[in-house]
Amino acid sequence: MQRADHTPALSLRQRLALRGIDGVTLLVLPAVLFVLAIFVYPFAYGLLLSFEPKQGGIFANYTRFFSDPFLYDTIATTLWLAVPVTIISLAFALPVAFRVRLMTRQRLLTTILVLPVTLGTVLVAEGLLNFLGPQGWFSRTLMLFGIIDSPVKLTNNYWGVFASLIITGFPFTFLLTLSYVTGIDPALEQAAATHGARAWQRFRHVFLPLLVPGLAIAFCLSFVQAFAVFPSAILLGAPAGPTRVISIAAYQAAFEQYDYSMASAIAMIMAAVQLVIVVAVLMLRNLFYRGTTAGGKG
């Protein structure tokens, strides 16, 4: 490539082609321009807008957010929902993925599990309002077995949102984990078993080190999804109090108070919190082994 640059016989067009830029490469441009215009520009615009508050200095929105408990508490409220949901989803997804990987016909189960992801949070919220409500089948079944005496309150509070996040979050985490688990060469496990490793030892010393990078990614993606909880926190939760999550605060600032500057500031804070958690998890991941998940002579 270096030599080509110095050869005078080549035209600009040929030199660009040698670096991989020609008519075909230009096909990427429309999509790049689109993402720049409709994703990057609004984000940058929002960031700048957040420093131009309706009143006060450039940081007025941020100082207001962090001095008003009604606003800054939303971070803790959201984390209090998103972190347990992510950990529980991952904790259940991993052993289930390990069993499902051995199944020859996974299709039915994976199809059932993809349903809540496809149907979306609004429909899940609507279904759970009936199902978990005081007259719903869930409470009825528990009462039938004598576990409880009167219906448990599971809607319009923390647990309603929690349940809806699990219903949409667990399949997402599971399918993601499954794709990582099935990516590990079974020969590695067989080798460990041949050498007399028990199930737990095989998991702890063979699978876990290989899975940590994938699990970290799964954790990040599931966490980010759960942190952005919005419709179910309104429909199934108590949006004025215990489940007033950060996206509700941002939405109210934008569409109820028409303070787009404040709304942008909250959206930026939301992005920053997500970024902090994701970076922390990815840094933890780097402490572990990173390498091929395929077997072979090494």
């Binding site: 670096r19 830029i21 096909l27 999509a31 609004p42 059932i112 429909l123 009936n130 199902f131 980010v224």
Partner: protein, 281 residues
């Protein structure tokens, strides 16, 4: 295959299946509640409704103007599908076939809209769209929905295109095909399964996309899922059964496309869309 025959292992396996069964039963019961309730005459304080009727579907159809909403939903969804196919497939082709400086940066650019949750970038996006006069319009909703779907198509299509031998294209060139003919007669027939799968998933995602549509839609550009949200939000104004009937109609519109899509793709692909991205990216 390795078989564990100890008691502990058997208990563990049983426990796992109990958890899965518990989850699936609750999920199915939740969906069944919605369907059953939509056909119920009256359902209060009993295991099953007092009687069955289909009149709620007629009520919902009239009350929520479902005909108009369905038309708008499909207009938006198919416009998004067509545009994201056009932008996504061309970009994916360039990314699959060429190595150029800054390619990693471009890939990151396409990965970001999939990783950042819609509500986070939706609020600044809605602000910009409203200032541009596109907020609340058909095209505003289409533009907002394209943000995650264009990168989605790109990431799904890249491995599809990579697996086609470039020699086939070279052969077509030798025989004098221009770029357009090459695409129409050589690439397209081979890419059809991949494009179809990607676009069906885009359709499913657009019909089910709540946040972006909710933030950018006006009264005449609402999709079904946003209308469903408003009716659940204002529940008490209308009969529960009528809202449930609408929910069933929404379920059908999504699931039909999902079932067609599942003929072409594995369910794990719907979630693990960026699988070809190495985990270390």
């Amino acid at each position: 295959m390795i078989r564990d025959t100890t008691i502990g292992a058997k208990l563990w396996i049983t426990a796992i299946w109990v958890v899965v069964a518990f989850f699936v039963i609750n999920l199915m019961a939740m969906i069944a509640t919605v369907i059953l309730s939509s056909f119920a005459t009256r359902w209060l304080g009993t295991w099953l409704p007092a009687g069955f009727t289909t009149r709620w579907y007629f009520t919902a159809w009239a009350e929520f103007q479902l005909y108009d909403i369905l038309i708008v939903t499909f207009q938006i969804a198919f416009t998004v599908v067509a545009l994201s196919g056009l932008l996504g497939v061309t970009a994916a082709y360039a990314l699959a076939r060429r190595d150029f400086p800054g390619k990693k940066l471009v890939m990151l650019l396409f990965l970001l809209p999939l990783l950042v949750p819609p509500i986070t970038f939706g609020i600044p996006l809605a602000t910009v769209l409203y200032q541009a006069g596109l907020g609340g319009t058909f095209w505003g909703v289409v533009l907002a929905n394209l943000v995650p779907t264009v990168p989605f198509v790109i990431l799904v299509m890249i491995p599809f295109i990579e697996q086609i031998d470039p020699k086939i294209e070279a052969a077509a060139r030798v025989f004098g095909a221009n770029t357009f003919q090459l695409f129409l007669h050589v690439l397209l027939p081979m890419l059809i399964p991949g494009i179809l799968a990607a676009l069906l998933l885009v359709l499913v995602r657009t019909v089910g996309m709540f946040e972006l549509t909710f933030l950018t839609a006006g009264p005449t550009s609402q999709t079904l899922v946003v209308a469903l949200y408003y009716s659940v939000f204002a529940s008490g104004v209308r009969a529960v059964q009528s809202i449930d009937a609408m929910a069933v109609i929404y379920m059908i519109t999504t699931l039909v496309w999902l079932l067609i899509a599942l003929r072409f793709v594995n369910p794990t692909q719907i979630v693990a869309r960026a699988k070809q991205q190495p985990a270390s990216a």
